[in-house]
């Protein structure tokens, strides 16, 4: 910005408006071309070749066919859906429960609100370290408590046991991301006009009725946003799962993003990795169409 200042004073007779226009759009356009457009087009190109880093051979859509017909593909897709849906729904329930509690202005509500922001601020790696420790079969306190209360007979290695890996990863994720739903819902709850409740009470509505007829309708839009946006993000999550389990044991927690990484860096199959990325891109685009149909976020920024 400072360069544009000195430029414009030196070239005072040149239309300043035009200069400012250039100064604001040139960086934006350049950046998006360099960091978004080129890599994405490059990836789409790569997905049509075998081994694009060596002697590349054009294979058309063969990589896509191979990825889609691989016997594991449906497993990875299923894992992604299970992870995305379970973490989104439980984050929503946790956030909703806490938002309703804090909105009641009980004692310590402010403390709860501040506490909710902590897990959200902790970097993913730290979250994983903490939960790996809590779930540790030898030293972890969760196993100790479960043993003490007689729930289990022997310790469970949660992150490396076939049927527990996914729930353990999901619990960890909900712990970190629950506050997202909480803050959105709390903001919406606090925007509801208290007179609505007063009028309902005067007309003899029970508290359940006014919850159903006032609170829920006011939260509907926020809940929809959380389900859609949080769902997309969880479907795309890579780091938290990779750090917790590397996609294992076996393929128990291998979601599509994990698979993209494996294909690229473990199997050095960039054609396959970019083809799978292309498939994820396509799935995301379809959801985005729904998103832009349901909401018109671009209207929030005057068109």
């Amino acid at each position: 910005m400072s360069t544009s200042t000195s430029l414009s004073t030196r070239l005072a007779d040149i239309d300043e408006r035009r200069l400012l226009l250039l100064a604001t759009f040139v960086p934006l356009v350049t950046f998006f071309i360099v960091v978004w457009a080129v890599p994405i087009l490059y990836a789409l190109g790569m997905s049509l070749f075998t081994d694009p880093t060596g002697a590349s051979v054009f294979v058309g859509l063969e990589n896509y066919a191979e990825i889609l017909t691989a016997p594991d593909f449906l497993t990875f897709l299923w894992n992604s859906v299970v992870y995305a849906v379970s973490t989104t729904v439980f984050s929503l329930l946790l956030g909703l429960a806490l938002a309703l509690v804090v909105n009641q202005q009980i004692k310590g509500g402010n403390v709860l609100r501040t506490m909710m922001i902590f897990p959200y601020l902790l970097p993913t790696l730290v979250v994983i370290f903490i939960w790996q420790f809590l779930f540790d079969p030898n030293l972890g306190v969760i196993n100790q408590w479960l043993l003490d209360f007689g729930v289990i007979d022997e310790p469970i290695a949660f992150f490396s046991t076939l049927q527990w890996a996914m729930p353990a990863v999901a619990i960890t994720s909900v712990w970190k991301f629950g506050s997202f739903a909480f803050f959105i819902l709390l903001a919406r709850l606090q925007a509801i006009d208290p007179n609505l409740y007063e009028r309902a009470r005067v007309e003899g509505a029970s508290s359940w009725q006014s919850f159903r007829d006032i609170t829920i309708p006011h939260l509907r839009g926020a809940i929809l946003i959380i389900l859609l946006v949080r769902g997309i993000w969880m479907f795309n999550k890579f780091d938290i799962i990779y750090l917790a389990t590397r996609g294992g044991p076996l393929d128990a927690t291998t979601t599509l993003p994990i698979r993209v990484y494996e294909l690229a860096f473990n199997e050095v199959n960039f054609g396959g990795a970019t083809a799978l990325a292309g498939i994820m891109f396509f799935l995301l685009a379809m959801v985005a169409v729904v998103y832009f149909r349901l909401f018109t976020p671009e209207e929030e920024v005057a068109a």
Partner: protein, 291 residues
């Protein structure tokens, strides 16, 4: 959920008993959530500031802190490249924060103050890229950086990290500049100030909460990042703290004490932000969904 639901409907419950049940269930939920949220953080701190022999004495984990020691931190600094990793993280995080925020301020101002066709498309493109999976962007970036010989450079990682944060910071500033009335600028122009002068002296000060939020966000994204650093940096001395520390548990000499100590160190910058910039942070939450 029933009890909770009734709680939300207001405090006008006709019967005493019902009111008490509601009260109790509210407190129960609050306490349960508080435990769920707090205990893991507490455990991290408790393990980090005690010597392993104190924490793990007698087979059971002792979580009551009675003797604080910095032994774990000392081991980190003596036996690992923690300082180097931290420096790398700081360099790319600060660079990316500056790049992402200035890009957002310029773009946000341009998009609100100038008209052009296809603005709706631009808004959708920005939002769409915000939903994109970092790993999907990381693969082609890796190949491109590899081809250009740019792997293991601060510059490449800064670009990649800014790619992840910029869609949201741009969106944020785009929305924020709309809350700045154009009449402010017009009155400055009338008094003879140039457009650039006005931008500098009138618009930017008013937009401060906006770009502070944008900076906090891009700082958090870059500091938190594991994916991009993992892909772009393959030399040990170029690792960021998240990638470097993620390898600690594979090392025999590093145990849970040191691991929790490094975790605590990684948490310091975000906590300082939360402590001093909480209001900006909440404003950021209000303008749009933070990731």
């Amino acid at each position: 959920m029933m009890a909770l639901g009734e709680g939300a409907a207001g405090s006008y419950v006709p019967q005493r008993v019902q009111a008490r049940v509601k009260r109790v269930s509210l407190v129960v939920v609050a306490v349960l959530v508080a435990i769920f949220v707090t205990i893991p953080v507490y455990v991290m701190v408790a393990v980090a500031v005690q010597a392993p022999q104190t924490v793990f004495a007698g087979g059971d984990v002792n979580l009551l802190v009675d003797s604080v020691t910095f032994r774990n931190f000392a081991v980190l600094f003596e036996e690992t490249a923690t300082v180097q990793y931290f420096t790398n993280s700081l360099i790319v995080t600060v660079s990316s924060t500056i790049l992402s925020t200035s890009l957002a301020v310029a773009a946000g101002y341009g998009l609100t103050r100038f008209d052009f066709r296809g603005k709706t498309m631009a808004a959708r493109a920005v939002l769409f890229s915000y939903m994109f999976s970092p790993i999907v962007l990381a693969i082609p970036l890796y190949v491109i950086f590899f081809t250009l010989g740019m792997l293991n450079s601060y510059f490449a990682l800064t670009l990649a990290l800014t790619g992840i944060s910029a869609p949201f910071t741009i969106w944020l500033m785009w929305q924020y500049f709309q809350t700045v009335p154009i009449s402010l600028e017009e009155s400055a122009w009338v008094r003879g100030a140039s457009r650039t002068r006005t931008l500098w002296d009138v618009v930017l000060p008013v937009a401060r909460p906006g770009y502070v939020s944008a900076a906090i966000f891009s700082f958090a994204v870059a500091w938190n990042d594991y994916t991009m650093a993992r892909v772009v940096m393959s030399q040990d001395e170029m690792y960021t703290i998240t990638v470097g520390a993620s390898l600690f548990l594979d090392r025999v000499s590093i145990g849970w004490g040191e691991t929790m100590a490094v975790s605590l160190l990684i948490c310091i910058p975000p906590f300082l932000i939360a402590l001093f910039l909480q209001n900006y942070l909440l404003q950021g939450f209000n303008v749009g969904g933070l990731e």
